[in-house]
Symmetry: C2
Subunit: 121 residues, 2 copies
DNA sequence: AGTATATTTGTCCATAAGTGCAAATATACT
DNA sequence: AGTATATTTGCACTTATGGACAAATATACT
């Protein structure tokens, strides 16, 4: 039950849902600073939430220099697949600001890669 | 986002998952004492968890004398439907004891109705 | 080696959430 | 009205969780 419960507990936080949904919508690997700028939440907070998500197996990680890129794990099991489906049914309007900021942020990429950290303020 | 988040938070507790799964498996309305005897968890604790579940709209309630019967709400919306699907994918083995005790407890019903309170101890 | 940047982690604090017990409520029955 | 039973609720206690800040780590570059 541990695996299932840890995952379900992870879903009970708005920031983590926003992170998951952002990764789902973008369909790209995103680095922490891109997520921070999209969600407008402190980097250390994003980092900790990502850590928890990662611990459940729902996220994949890869490194690009100092940038660590996260995405939804592709080798999902059935439970994780259904969680993704579940999160998809939350209406877009709850994430429209996040998506807008993500698009702005992604426009800064060079050759499809993140090359700059936080642009906030 | 409130509706979705409240529901997701509700899923992050083992007792609540067990209650939901028990109601899903039984396909019957169950009274609190039947749930208590199946899960072997104090009645006041079950009652409080049911209250939270009820607050999200995932449970229906009806009264039969002093017994209050709970079931999964049938007029589910898409989100709730997907939650049910999600919980179904958790392997049976995690709930086998609950189901066994429920069957024993349901055998005591008379004319399909609960007529006795807690039989524990 | 030293600096810069992206990210993680440790600690402290406030608040949320679950548990246990006792008391309160609601209904039925005599 | 008084009793019995099923369920809820209020309160005190403990533990889990998220937020803020500082410090630590990891990588790249010169």
């Amino acid at each position: 039950m541990d695996f299932y419960l840890k995952l379900l507990k992870c879903l009970g936080d708005q920031t983590r849902i926003r992170i998951l949904r952002l990764l789902m919508e973008s369909k790209l690997e995103l680095c922490v600073c891109e997520i921070v700028d999209s969600l407008q939440i402190p980097f250390y907070s994003i980092s900790k939430h990502i850590k928890e998500l990662k611990n459940t197996g729902i996220l994949s990680e890869s490194r690009n220099g100092t940038f660590i890129m996260y995405s939804i794990a592709k080798d999902e099991n059935e439970f994780i697949t259904k969680i993704i489906e579940l999160i998809k049914t939350i209406p877009d309007e709850n994430f429209s600001s996040d998506i807008t900021l993500l698009k702005k942020r992604l426009a800064i990429r060079e050759n499809g890669k993140c090359t700059i950290g936080l642009i906030k303020k």
